[in-house]
Assembly symmetry: C2
């Protein structure tokens, strides 16, 4: 599996995210990591293996302990990936704000009937025209 996929997969479990949060405070043992959870130690051990395969933790050896250490570099790659979309969701919020302001302005001017707010269809259609990415632009091939 590619690195990004295994990182996302590793993060898709609240137990594992809690483990990472704990490890952000410092290196610790499996036993200590297990304590907060209502879960057997082998279960935690499996979670640790998932985190390790994703490169999110490293494990040492110190007598009979296998201390876990957070290695956050894959998180930087997650950040890189998601930042690709930042403009998108910020722009969306901007448009929502603009839309709400327009609604408010319209309501102030001519308060007769509320728009059906089917901004769904019309807005989407318009956006497609703008970007030139019509759904069925391509017919059968």
């Amino acid at each position: 599996m590619d690195a990004l996929s295994s990182t996302f997969a590793a993060l898709a479990d609240p137990t594992r995210r809690a483990i990472l949060a704990r490890l952000a405070l410092g290196e610790t043992s499996v036993t200590e990591l297990t304590e907060p959870f209502e879960m057997s130690m082998p279960a935690v051990s499996k979670h640790l293996k998932v985190l390790e395969r994703a490169g999110l933790i490293e494990r040492g050896r110190e007598a009979q302990w296998r201390p876990c250490k957070l290695t956050p570099q894959p998180l930087a790659e997650v950040s890189d990936w998601v930042e690709q979309y930042r403009e998108l969701w910020e722009r969306r919020l901007d448009r929502l704000e603009a839309y709400l302001q327009k609604l408010q302005a319209d309501a102030a001017n001519k308060p007769r009937r509320a728009a059906k707010t089917g901004a769904k269809t019309s807005a989407a259609t318009r956006k497609n025209k703008e970007t030139g990415h019509g759904r069925h632009a391509r017919g059968k091939k």
Copy 2:
């Protein structure tokens, strides 16, 4: 499942990330989404259901088409979550840099063995510093 978990789970598949990348360019149909993949349409339909349950896409109705639209707000939550750890991985890089500089200084003084410089700095990290991406400018609701 909690929102963050299902978002991460949805992102843990390269097909679904490719679908998101396509949808970032604009709304489109299931058929068009399927074309780039060596995969049946029901398979893509299932992926879309996963993305929809995670709130990453919305689906319209337009005749027999069910156009898909990216709704990137969950990505903002992913960003918020991962930014918690930014200081951690940047500090780690800082320490690595310091360590490498120290190695270099030591080597200059007493040059006996070469250091294994695996200095892989994240370009995105830099970029973020430059652009001053107001990562956490937005508070939580």
